[in-house]
Every structure is written in structure tokens, then in C-alpha cells.
Amino acid sequence: MASKNYEWYTQADLHKYRGEWVAIASQRVAAHGFNAKKVLEEARKKYPKENPALAKVPQEDILVL
């Protein structure tokens, strides 16, 4: 069963973070930037009782997967 943070993430508009890492906690972007480790550490400090998740927002409009 998906977590609330993940469900929020599947619907969230993250276009302003294109090309960046985002950390998700409390159903929001808890931190963002270009270094995954720094982003996650920042989110963990802001939300110490949660386990923030990391995601990368694509830079490109079209992806070939």
C-alpha cells in the first residue's frame, strides 16, 4: 500500500524544480537542490520524525524510457 507522501507525489506539480532533486515529507517538497545527499539531509533535519523520500524531476519535456 502506497504511503501518503507517495500518493501526493504522483499528483504534485513539480515543474518549477526541473532538473533538481526533491525530498518529499509531510506531503510537500521538504527540500530541493542539485545534490541528492544535501537535499535529503536537509529534509531529514526539517522533518526528523519522518523518512523523507528522494526523487529527481526531469529536465526534459519528453523522455524515452
Binding site: A2, S3, Y6, Y9, T10, Q11, D13, H15, I24, F34, N35, A36, K37, K38, L40, N51, P52, A53, L54, A55, K56, P58, Q59, E60, D61, I62, L63, V64, L65
Partner: protein, 117 residues
Amino acid sequence: MIEFSYRKEYSPVLGEIYRPSAEVILKHNDKIVLFYPYIDSGADITLIPRSLGEMLGLELTDEIVELGGLGDNKVPVLIKKIEIKIGRYLIPIHVAWALIEEIPLLFLAEKTFSQGF
């Protein structure tokens, strides 16, 4: 059976699009990272950036190889073995740990874990 969710996004070229993604835990020894990658059915291996590998406690040992993909850019990587937890399944996989931070996307190669079923 594992089912994937789709992330709703918007492309100025294609309009509303849906990309497959998952909620996954990466695990190496006692280190864990929760992440939300896209699912890539065409990729041979999952690529993770340098800092993510550092968070998992991966070590700079083994032979460096170069990975290619779309375009001419090659990425220097180390092939490492970790575990992923997806749904209720804990599966050992190999990942390509990039020695750079700037990788284009965070995706999970479907092939590497679907063979475990």
C-alpha cells in the same frame, strides 16, 4: 505481482502524460534511502548518482566502467550490489553507481528486479 503507479505530468509538446513510477527503498547494510524513481522498461541497469551511493555507504572499490545511453555521453560507474524493497518484496540487485552527480534522471530498471519473480 508488482503494480506501478503513474505520475501525472505535463509536457508542452505532448500535453498531459503519465509516467510509471514506484515507491522503493534502497538498502545497503544498515543504510536505507526511500526514493521515487521512474520505471524504465528499456534500461539494463539502474543508475544512481554519486551522493546517493555515498548515503548508502558504497565504497570506491572495483573496476570503473563506462555506461552509454541516449546520445554520446558516457558515465563512469562502479557496479555494486544492494537490495531494494518494492511492495512487500526485498530483492538483491546490481546498480550502476555513477562517479558523478549529474545524471539525467533517477529511474529503476525494471529488468533487474523483475527477473527475481
